[in-house]
């Protein structure tokens, strides 16, 4: 018997059918997803051990320094039994300090920064830890509803040990007044789970005379106990 991944509690992950987020209207499936037991296909997944570095500095690109407020983001990746997940691939992307992505379809009338690409790939260390230095992303408008603005955020993509633990999410910043108004953030039904996407300012992560530090831990699915080992 295979020990599968534990199912998420209701309300943790958003439902795709979320009317306040207009793009879901034509894209959310209408039929129920069919629950399947976990086989080798679900508990296995790709490994990226040899690919990227253990840390990244996004504040310099193409021979110059990016504009904006430098910040440090650090944390650990765990499973929900509290076990560190080493060598997990984290892929990051974000807008620049002016709220503009270095992406051809981003037409927001804010300046691009030639010294900021806003992307990185890192691996967690032996204790699941990660750290990167970046520029605090700006808020930006989107056309979901009149005068709609996304809160400042950094996109995270994570590969844990199995494909069933795959996660793409967004990290937010404490005290952002746009969070209360954001249909994407508020698509998470459970308010306690929602708060877990807000990073924490932390003086220990802050580097004197250099940059403020934010702590953001990420928890991926843990495993069911193996039958017979309960």
């Amino acid at each position: 018997m295979i020990a599968g991944y534990r199912r998420p509690a209701p309300g943790v992950h958003p439902r795709n059918d979320a009317p306040a987020y207009a793009s879901t209207a034509q894209r959310a499936p209408r039929k129920h997803a069919i629950k399947i037991p976990h086989t080798l296909s679900e508990i296995t997944g790709p490994r990226f051990d040899s690919t990227p570095a253990l840390s990244a500095d996004l504040t310099r690109f193409d021979g110059g320094a990016a504009l904006g407020e430098r910040i440090i983001v650090a944390g650990r990746v765990f499973d929900d039994d509290g076990r560190a997940i080493p060598h997990a691939l984290i892929e990051l992307w974000q807008a620049n300090a002016a709220g503009r992505y270095a992406h051809p379809t981003d037409q927001h009338d804010a300046p691009l920064d030639p010294h900021f690409s806003g992307v990185a790939r890192i691996l967690t260390g032996d204790d699941g830890e990660y750290r990167f230095i970046t520029i605090k992303p700006g808020a930006y408008p989107w056309r979901n509803h009149p005068n709609a603005w996304r809160p400042q955020h950094i996109h995270f993509s994570l590969f844990g040990p199995g494909f069933a633990a795959r996660l793409v999410t967004q990290m937010y910043f404490p005290g952002d007044p746009l969070l209360a108004l954001d249909p994407i953030f508020n698509s998470i039904a459970d308010p306690v789970a929602r708060e877990r996407l807000i990073s924490r300012f932390e003086l220990e992560t802050t580097v004197a005379e250099y940059a403020l530090g934010y702590q953001f831990d990420i928890v991926l699915r843990g495993r069911e106990a193996t039958p017979g080992q309960d």
């Binding site: 793009s23 080798l40 806003g118 996109h155």
Partner: protein, 191 residues
């Protein structure tokens, strides 16, 4: 049940520079063993419109039916030239493409074998949580009828999970459209 999990959020529209590299869709370039195949298709929304900002990830066993992963302890050969993961973004008409090999059958529960299949994960703007599905093969009808996962699907919807042969070509081209919503909605799995 998991209670401390980090919630999912949409991949949004601006993931390209971070996630998409053309080489990630060419999985058999390193001399992998097995039948070379091309998997291609379109991602369509509930209005039948193309979804030009989706990411498709696939994860599959090698030609012997073994996953390159420490938890796959089946007595089958690993292929040092095939690792089983691919990723592609969709283009303006919603199309995606992978160059890979046909996977072998892998173990299911107990003694049951699963029919050869490719695991698929779909991300897009407008999807707050990724969708999981599977691609099965049109030349495996006996194995498909015995597949324990396909058999969890209502018979009239199973065809959405079987790729179509796109005519004679070498390598073989298999079409697999992913319909997010509507009458011909692809079957998605709660994994």
């Amino acid at each position: 049940m998991s209670t401390r999990l980090t919630p999912s959020q949409t991949v949004g529209p601006f993931f390209g520079p971070a996630l998409i590299r053309a080489s990630d869709g060419r999985m058999a370039d390193g001399g992998a063993r097995g039948e070379r195949i091309v998997i291609e298709g379109r991602v369509l929304d509930g209005a039948g419109a193309p979804v030009p900002d989706a990411v498709i990830e696939i994860w599959q066993a090698n030609a012997e039916g073994r996953y390159d992963h420490r938890e796959d302890t089946q007595e089958k050969l690993l292929d040092p030239n095939f690792h089983g993961f691919g990723r592609a973004g969709t283009g303006a008409s919603g199309e995606y493409q992978f160059h890979t090999i046909k996977p072998g059958a892998v173990a299911g529960e107990g003694v049951a074998l699963q029919a050869p299949h490719i695991n698929v994960c779909v991300f897009a703007r407008g999807l707050l949580h990724h969708l999981m599905t599977r691609i099965y093969f049109p030349d495996e009808s006996a194995a498909n009828s015995a597949d324990p996962i396909l058999n969890l699907v209502e018979p009239e919807r199973r065809a959405t999970l079987v790729a179509r042969d796109a005519g004679k070509s070498s390598p073989r081209i298999l079409r697999f459209d992913i319909v997010l919503q509507g009458d011909h909605e692809t079957v998605f799995f709660d994994v």
